[in-house]
Subunit: 430 residues, 2 copies
Amino acid sequence: MMRTRPLKVALLGCGVVGSEVTRIMTTHADDLTQRIGAPVELVGIAVRRPDRVREGVPQELITTDATALVKRGDIDVVIEVIGGIEPARSLITTAFEHGASVVSANKALLAQDGAALHAAAERHGVDLYYEAAVAGAIPLVRPLRESLAGDRVNRVLGIVNGTTNFILDKMDSSGAGYSEALDEATALGYAEADPTADVEGFDAAAKAAILAGIAFHTRVRLDDVHREGMTEVTAADFASAKQMGCTIKLLAICERAADGRSVSARVHPAMIPLTHPLASVREAYNAVFIEADAAGQLMFYGPGAGGAPTASAVLGDLVAVCRNKVAEATGPGESAYTRLPVSAMGEVVTRYHISLDVADKPGVLAQVATVFAEHGVSIDTVRQQGKDGEASLVVVTHRASDAALSSTVEALRKLDTVRDVASIMRVEGE
Amino acid sequence: MMRTRPLKVALLGCGVVGSEVTRIMTTHADDLTQRIGAPVELVGIAVRRPDRVREGVPQELITTDATALVKRGDIDVVIEVIGGIEPARSLITTAFEHGASVVSANKALLAQDGAALHAAAERHGVDLYYEAAVAGAIPLVRPLRESLAGDRVNRVLGIVNGTTNFILDKMDSSGAGYSEALDEATALGYAEADPTADVEGFDAAAKAAILAGIAFHTRVRLDDVHREGMTEVTAADFASAKQMGCTIKLLAICERAADGRSVSARVHPAMIPLTHPLASVREAYNAVFIEADAAGQLMFYGPGAGGAPTASAVLGDLVAVCRNKVAEATGPGESAYTRLPVSAMGEVVTRYHISLDVADKPGVLAQVATVFAEHGVSIDTVRQQGKDGEASLVVVTHRASDAALSSTVEALRKLDTVRDVASIMRVEGE
């Protein structure tokens, strides 16, 4: 059964992930050969800085001409771990045109141009695999695309960014504020010098777009994902969460609407009960809950980033894509046949936790409750606390649309007795 | 791209799982067509009792002649949810001979005859998929076979039997004894009238054999799995576990030896720390930890049994196998190239919790400690408690081989001062 002509692999990018991919391909070459049914050979590594020392990476494979590498014509598989939109997109497209399948870890590109890339792969009869683009080593793309292919997924709810989970976990356990926790994350290498992509939720939003598209067999682009970062979460928010038996996580949430006619995808900080399995996800770990009609609730947990875990996902895809090459077949392509529209955030339904600073006088609660009622937002609990002529009012609502909640808050701000809407946070994971 | 000739599917068995498979194939026919790239048609359902009322199952498809059904010659895929060794094995083999791929949920058969069945499937150029055989809806077979195909798995540690987890969870939370908790499980439908297969660990052992084979790319049969049931776990064991900050779970443990030259697979009750994620798996849920070189620690959690969750796994496999049929290809077959031998239990290394009833007099601890030292078993902690001239001694060891521990216990029993070795339990999940 074993064929002897080796499959030729080109690697684009040789940073933390690329170096680890190279190391494993070298040290586990015999295992990969057995599992694929053919030897696999790394024939070129394109980098920007060829002089950088990369331990264990054969210097003779290094090139700075990525385009020439993917145009060689004899490459079976291109592994793309450069990240970002360009030149990654052009290189992947060129690889397809030259008959190569592609394994990519590029969430930003997949979230923005996934449909076009899938179409190009199909046109050229090659594969595009990207398990490593979402939640590092945790198998999510394959379970959603294949294991749950006979089921109907209704919800994906997860912690898909390790940096922000590390920061929020620190804030929760130590009572630290955001900047203090961010400093610690940076010092320990969990946050980048410019943490914007993580803390503003861009990274999680790209993953949410990819997951929603696969889960609901439709197209969801990065622009379709409602995104709120976690830079404004305060120690006071954590104190409020604790009083409710909750903690705060930055969640990616993809949902099928109750009527099944639309989907939504969003990233924002949210309170979740301490009894929810996602609440106990510590440090930089990731975890994703999937709810499906027949399967019920599944959870997947593991390291969401890092060189070795990401390389594990890349190599799993490499084996699959190489097996397909040997079999002269391709794996499942894009499945976007439902064409379900993506709802605007206003239509999304969830629960809310609202802290108000109000005047400490009779009738305030009645006034506030009336505003909620007038906007069709039903109150679950209210907690009132007085302090020096002022009082705080904490309202937790039943499920209501984001639009109804927004107009409620607008009306609350206009009340003389409401000094400030101190915080609004969604409550998830019932 | 869509082909119009439908793929023909035969279903063997129409109990809880089979009925649910039928229901989903009927109600989600359009989705399945889209996801497979061809319509899929259920053309026959073989049952033993044709007169039984099965809601939503088309009576005209029912037959009692399973052999004739798989011999029709026009069947593309056979779904086997009968369970047990015969007639399932003969039917599957006959299906292969007639060109059908098989989706099976049959853990007992796979654990006993997996190698022969895989060989038969390969000989006939068809697929054998069995995600539903292990842990119901939780994707485990596919992640191990495919997602981690480029990694090296070192350990699989899991709760893979819902019935026993329900019983142990009850004992833990209510302080109930084994038979009381079993009665509750039976009343609620979590345990069968004859619970032997579950409580004696046969079911978990079959799953351990399957998981170990896939994880380590070798062959592990049911007979290779060391198996201890959980019928002797007592309320006193739970009390001891609590004192150590632990709980007790029936675990399936598949390990690669430290030198990489052998593997082991075992099922037995064990103490695990409350801080370990498996400790918080409640009721009949399943969860499996996988440790791999590059991926690190992954966990998969979900419903491990039941009609709908098992049907979800069956249908995921059905879609995959049908896609392969459409592409005229097959998926990954058995990967057993490492041919790693399976160690006997005596060579397995772990930690132990031993309760001894001893005479309450000076020098006993020294005597006991000497016996451990003589057998090369290093003690981690000892707790001594006096009661009316007798005392109890609880010893927790460092890692030692099962053989060393057994000879230690044998020698302890011979000491005059040791009245009884009240319990021995392994400690896992550091």
